[in-house]
């Protein structure tokens, strides 16, 4: 969610029980302004917090020219001093998935490791080798934030447009979804490089507006029912919760351009989802 309207948006997304204390809000408002100036971001988003055993991580994202690409992620332990997270590469993702388990500890330099026996070579020359993968928590954090963004970052349809040049911009004439549209899952889109869109047939593409529908809608997610869509606060706020990443809340006030998402949780994917529906 946009850092400028943090004080207002945090309350809207508070339905899942976690908010920011007044002290944290105050320090975020101070430090994010400085952050924006230092890194020359065009916009700073407060992304959320990840609960650790000892400490919590606060995550912010800076946006440069393009809204979707070139996002920079920063983390902080005290809402004041921000540190840049490394971009999540494929090899790093694989390492993290392999080596890390359990909750975040709250110490960025904490190392988790796992050793397995691997057979190498072919035919008679097979050798058993011990392979140890070490991952520190900072890179785990980077991968987790990247994964959550990939699976569960949401925007309402029409809030962003793609210019013919390929740049994604905020749609200044976006006035918000109509309440009946807001109650349907297909009017929300994944804010990531589309995956399913390229596989669609021309017939399906015919109804889509290339400037607006350049993203995957949530209604195509597998398994069905991995989102919980509710109206809160007397039907004025549309709250969308991911059941895959418990703790991710998206909110949109229908008929206003206000929308945003925040993650407040333990940073663990809900792998038991198929059993729980």
């Amino acid at each position: 969610m946009d850092s400028d309207s943090l004080h207002y948006f945090v309350d809207l997304a508070a339905g899942n029980g976690l908010t920011l204390s007044s002290e944290q809000r105050a320090s975020l408002q101070t430090s994010l302004v400085i952050l924006k100036k230092n890194y020359k971001f065009s916009r700073v988003l407060f992304w959320g917090k990840i609960l650790g055993i000892k400490c919590d991580y606060f995550i912010a994202q800076g946006i440069e020219e393009d809204e979707m690409k070139n996002k920079k992620t920063l983390y902080s332990l005290n809402c004041l001093d921000w540190h840049m997270l490394p971009p999540a590469t494929d090899s790093m993702t694989a390492d993290v998935e392999f080596a890390s388990e359990g909750r975040f500890t709250g110490d960025p330099s904490h190392e988790s490791q796992r050793t397995v026996m691997q057979t190498q070579g072919e035919g008679d020359e097979t050798k058993e080798e011990e392979v140890t993968v070490k991952v520190n928590e900072e890179s785990r954090l980077a991968v987790t934030v990247f994964n959550i963004d990939k699976d569960a970052s949401v925007v309402p349809r029409g809030a962003f447009i793609k210019s013919p040049g390929g740049k994604v911009k905020t749609n200044l004439s976006f006035k918000g979804l109509h309440p009946t549209e807001a109650a349907k899952l297909h009017s929300y889109l994944h804010f990531r490089e589309p995956v399913n869109l390229k596989m669609k047939s021309i017939l399906e593409m015919a109804d889509l507006n290339p400037a607006v529908d350049f993203l995957d809608p949530l209604s195509e997610d597998i398994p069905k029912g991995s989102w919980s869509l509710q109206f809160e606060r007397g039907g004025t706020v549309c709250a969308l919760r991911s059941l895959l990443w418990l703790g991710l809340t998206f909110f949109h006030v229908p008929q206003t351009p206000q929308h945003g998402y925040i993650y407040m949780g333990d940073g663990l994917m809900n792998l038991d989802l198929p059993f729980m529906l």
Partner: protein, 477 residues
């Protein structure tokens, strides 16, 4: 013109569509108003009653002093410092809804327990304690009705089955269901408190049924999201006895037992109890409680104690000997009695006693079950101590001087540490006793048959010979 858009025609088409649409949205209509019944409006009308003050608000001063209404605003104030809460307006609505509950029901004590999130709607949960003897009537009548219905059903089923059996007797099952663990009485154990839930503040409060041990044991084995409808069935394996209301009640009982904590010394056991062997299940507030310093509370889990009884493996707080009970029942068949008396006396299950410190809680996969912290590092003079449960994500407790509070806001799911493995169904029982008379054997070959025949002939020949010999001997004599 400056931009030279590629799809200029499309843009104009969009604009013209907008224009046409605005023509059709007339403000002044000759037809009568369309009935606007959006969900938001209905809810707002329902919530309006919360804000309207009662007409006869005259001499209620006595009640105000002695009201069981909890101070939700204070609770929310402290939890907000810990970064937990529902938002200010929402909290106020919850407060008013609790007031409504207290006004309509005659309760002794009331507490805002928390909120459980569901996929379609959420539950606000209020924990209520009735005075002894009150608030049981409804339950009793419901139970008897259900029993009657069940009996009727079984009678019908029996009649039908008798008809069928007369024609073709079916083999009877030798499977015996394990004995049912009786539920704990009102005001004791897991049924110590009564819980009311509502979906939105302003909606009617619905009372949850009592929990039976079977529901708790099954709830431990399954992992399902709440849908938000109390009458929804719980589709799971092992089958859950009851619908979502029962499941919700079972989860509430488990969460309360696991996460309701208080500073040590706030409660103490009553003095009168002399029997040390009995598990002490009553405690009272300690009037001499002085309060513990915040730093101490935040640093050590030794200063926090559970004040809700541990639920045993059996699904009850107080262990009950099932075999003994059925043996005492005089109406049982003598045969069954004997059989059950033969069974070994099982070891009584015991859990940690009441007011056990949190530091003795078991770890989950090398993760400590509680995280403790202070609310502020910048102003340590006025901060509060907070503990967060890692076992039940969403459960929090705070303490500030002599005040403490517990809250749960979450999905009602326990943290397992590993991926959930569903329980496998038991192996099917064998259809019939397996013996040599029904096991299939290979047919003998011709050679084998002939060999057998030859052997038989030899035997008979031998016999004849011996007989002949005997005869000869007889003759000789």
């Amino acid at each position: 013109m400056d931009e030279r858009p590629e799809n200029a025609v499309d843009v104009i088409e969009d604009m013209s569509l907008d224009l046409k649409r605005s023509i059709f949205q007339e403000k002044q209509d000759t037809l009568r108003d369309s009935p606007s019944s959006s969900a938001a409006l209905l809810l707002a009308e329902q919530q309006k009653s919360l804000f309207s003050q009662g007409a006869e608000d005259g001499d209620h001063e006595e009640e105000l002093v002695d009201s069981p209404l909890p101070n939700v605003a204070e609770l929310a104030f402290f939890f907000e410092q810990a970064g937990v809460g529902l938002g200010r307006e929402e909290t106020q609505r919850v407060f008013l809804a609790l007031k409504q509950l207290v006004d309509t029901q005659h309760v002794q004590r009331c507490r805002f327990w928390g909120k459980i999130l569901g996929t379609q709607s959420n539950y606000l949960v209020a924990e209520v304690e009735f005075r002894e003897g009150e608030g049981e009537e409804e339950e009793g009548t419901e139970d008897t009705h259900e029993d009657e219905e069940k009996e009727e059903e079984t009678h019908e089923a029996q009649n039908e089955s008798e008809m069928v059996e007369a024609a073709d007797p079916t083999p009877t099952s030798t499977h015996k269901p394990p004995p049912i663990v009786p539920r704990e009485e009102n005001h004791t154990g897991v049924n110590k408190f009564t819980y009311f839930v509502c979906q939105e503040p302003g909606m009617p409060w619905i009372r949850l049924p009592f929990v039976i041990p079977a529901q708790i044991t099954v709830a431990r084995q399954i992992r399902k999201f709440f849908t938000g409808r109390l009458d929804a069935p719980v589709v799971s394996y092992p089958p859950f006895p009851g619908n979502e209301a029962n499941y919700l009640r079972a989860q509430i009982a488990r969460i309360s037992a696991g996460t309701h904590v208080s500073p040590v010394g706030f409660y103490h056991f009553e003095e009168e109890e002399g029997e040390d062997e009995e598990v002490r299940d009553t405690f009272e507030e300690n009037p001499d409680f002085e309060g513990i310093h915040v730093n101490e509370m935040a640093e050590s889990l030794n200063f926090w104690v559970h004040h809700v009884q541990h639920i045993l493996q059996q699904g009850r707080c107080v262990w009950i000997n099932l075999t003994k009970k059925s043996g005492e029942d005089p109406d049982e068949d003598a045969e069954e009695e004997d059989h059950e008396e033969e069974a070994d006396e099982p070891e009584p299950e015991t859990g940690p006693p009441l007011l056990t410190p949190l530091s003795e809680d078991a770890n989950i996969n090398d993760t400590s079950p509680w995280s403790s912290m202070t609310s502020s590092n910048l102003i340590p003079q006025f901060c509060i101590a907070v503990v967060r449960s890692n076992l039940w994500p969403g459960a929090y407790a705070y303490v500030n001087g002599k005040k403490f509070g517990n809250i749960y806001i979450g999905w009602g799911m326990k943290y397992l540490g590993t991926a959930y493995t569903p329980v496998m169904p038991p192996l099917p029982r064998s259809e019939y006793p397996s013996g040599p008379e029904i096991t299939e054997a290979l047919d003998p070959t011709v050679e084998e048959e002939q060999a057998l025949k030859a052997a038989l002939e030899e035997q008979t020949a031998d016999l004849e010979e011996t007989e002949e010999l005997e005869d000869d001997e007889d003759d000789e004599d």
